[in-house]
């Protein structure tokens, strides 16, 4: 639904522009530097092509934490850089409210335990803790995920997974092209 050809084209354009900006093709970069520059271009391109979503903002924020990347990012994103690199405003509220939430949950769970049978509670608590652990892992995976709650996290994961797939496909396309040309 989102993977329109214009989206993919945008991504490819931006990525090639990023390659150019970070001077990937020049001789004096080491392998690791080149790889980092390519990855930076690819990530910035996919975030830019997607537009304003929370994961794209988080991604740009993470990327711009490294001072060296800022020039490339600014050149690539232009005006969008300032808009996209705004940190999520909720990120500081969440740690404080978590303690309160945990206290409430503990109180409510003790109240519920009084009403229901023990084995039901055990199962539900087990399922909840399992799901919670996985949600925490997912929060670390999705950029900007720490400041999202359960629902928006799942939405952003969906969006992010689709964009990652488009990114992988685009990079593979360029790779195969360049390899095919290399064999000539």
């Amino acid at each position: 639904m989102q993977l329109t050809s214009s989206f993919k084209l945008n991504f490819l354009k931006q990525m090639l522009l990023g390659f150019q900006l970070s001077a990937v093709s020049s001789n004096n970069m080491s392998f690791h530097e080149r790889k980092k520059a390519i990855k930076l271009s690819a990530d910035a391109a996919i975030a830019f092509a997607r537009g304003r979503t929370r994961w794209s903002q988080g991604l740009i924020t993470n990327l711009s934490k490294n001072e060296k990347n800022k020039d490339v990012l600014k050149g690539l994103l232009g005006r969008e850089y300032d808009e996209l690199s705004k940190p999520c405003c909720n990120s500081w509220k969440i740690p404080r409210s978590k303690k309160i939430l945990r206290r409430c949950l503990r109180m409510s769970s003790t109240r519920k335990m009084a009403g229901r049978a023990q084995h039901d509670v055990g199962k539900s608590i087990l399922a909840k803790t399992l799901a919670k652990k996985r949600i925490q892992v997912l929060k670390k995976l999705v950029p900007g995920g720490e400041s999202m709650d359960g629902f928006s996290l799942l939405d952003e994961t969906l969006d992010y997974a689709m964009s990652l797939k488009a990114q992988v496909d685009g990079m593979r396309c360029i790779l195969r092209t360049s390899e095919a040309l290399n064999f000539k």
């Binding site: 639904m1 050809s5 399992l130 999705v142 997974a161 685009g170 195969r176 095919a180 040309l181």
Partner: protein, 310 residues
Amino acid sequence: MQCLQQAPVSDLSVLERQRLHFDWQQQEQPSRHSYDADLCVRSLNSFTCFSNGLPDLAQYSMPVASNFEEAGVAVSNCNPKRRRAESSPKSKDESNCKRGKQETGGGGGGRSESRQQNNRKEASGDTSSYKNEEHPKADYIHVRARRGQATDSHSLAERVRRERISQRMKYLQELVPGCSKITGKAGMLDEIINYVQSLQRQVEFLSMKLAAVNPLAADNNYSNCSMGISSEPMEQPFLHFNSLQAHPCSGLDMYMDSSSDLVPDGSSFVSCSALNSLYGVEFQLGRGTAAFPFQSFQGNLLPNNLKMEI
């Protein structure tokens, strides 16, 4: 009413319960209706402020049943402390206004209508679920509703939350390959985590490959490519850039059309004529040093052509 008491709550789906409540509701006094309208208004109030927080759900084709859970959230968000007795004509006007807003915001009259119905059903369900407990009170509408709302809203909110999560899980299930058999939240989350991690690793790996392949040419070659791409909005004109007549521009088309694996036909979409000099035969790194962390990749993710090279 007897059917309410006999049927265990867990067996009936929520919609069936609401229908039963609504049917039972209709036998009640008409004084109930003002309270229902009141609840409708408040639920609509909370819904309009809640609807801004809903993410890009419009892009997914939501079934109509999903409106029910949205309505349910609205009802459950009603704060019992905010309850006031409102006159029925006033509340009806408000509900009409809110309905108008909903229609413009919700994107379709049909959806908002079903929302209204579901709102009313939810509202009636709220009040009626505790009717069988406490009958004989003079102003039992207000008192009982407050008590009912306080505890019932939690269970309703939980149910609505669970339904929303399960719906998103369904979308994710369609996205992640090979997940149609897995049921349960934890297993699905596992698969999603694996999938996202594998995609991220693929990006790392591909960037490494690109760094290895990528060479030694001047910057102006890339600028030619990007300028060429930017000036041509459609993918068809890439054929004009094809200096290698033997290769049809199939790779780029396939990338654009599908998200599946590409057949390496040697797409020449970046083949500006100057690009040929880019891809000289020299490789800086050398193919021999296959120092890629293959052990960190799942085997089925390695594209076939890479295996051939190594």
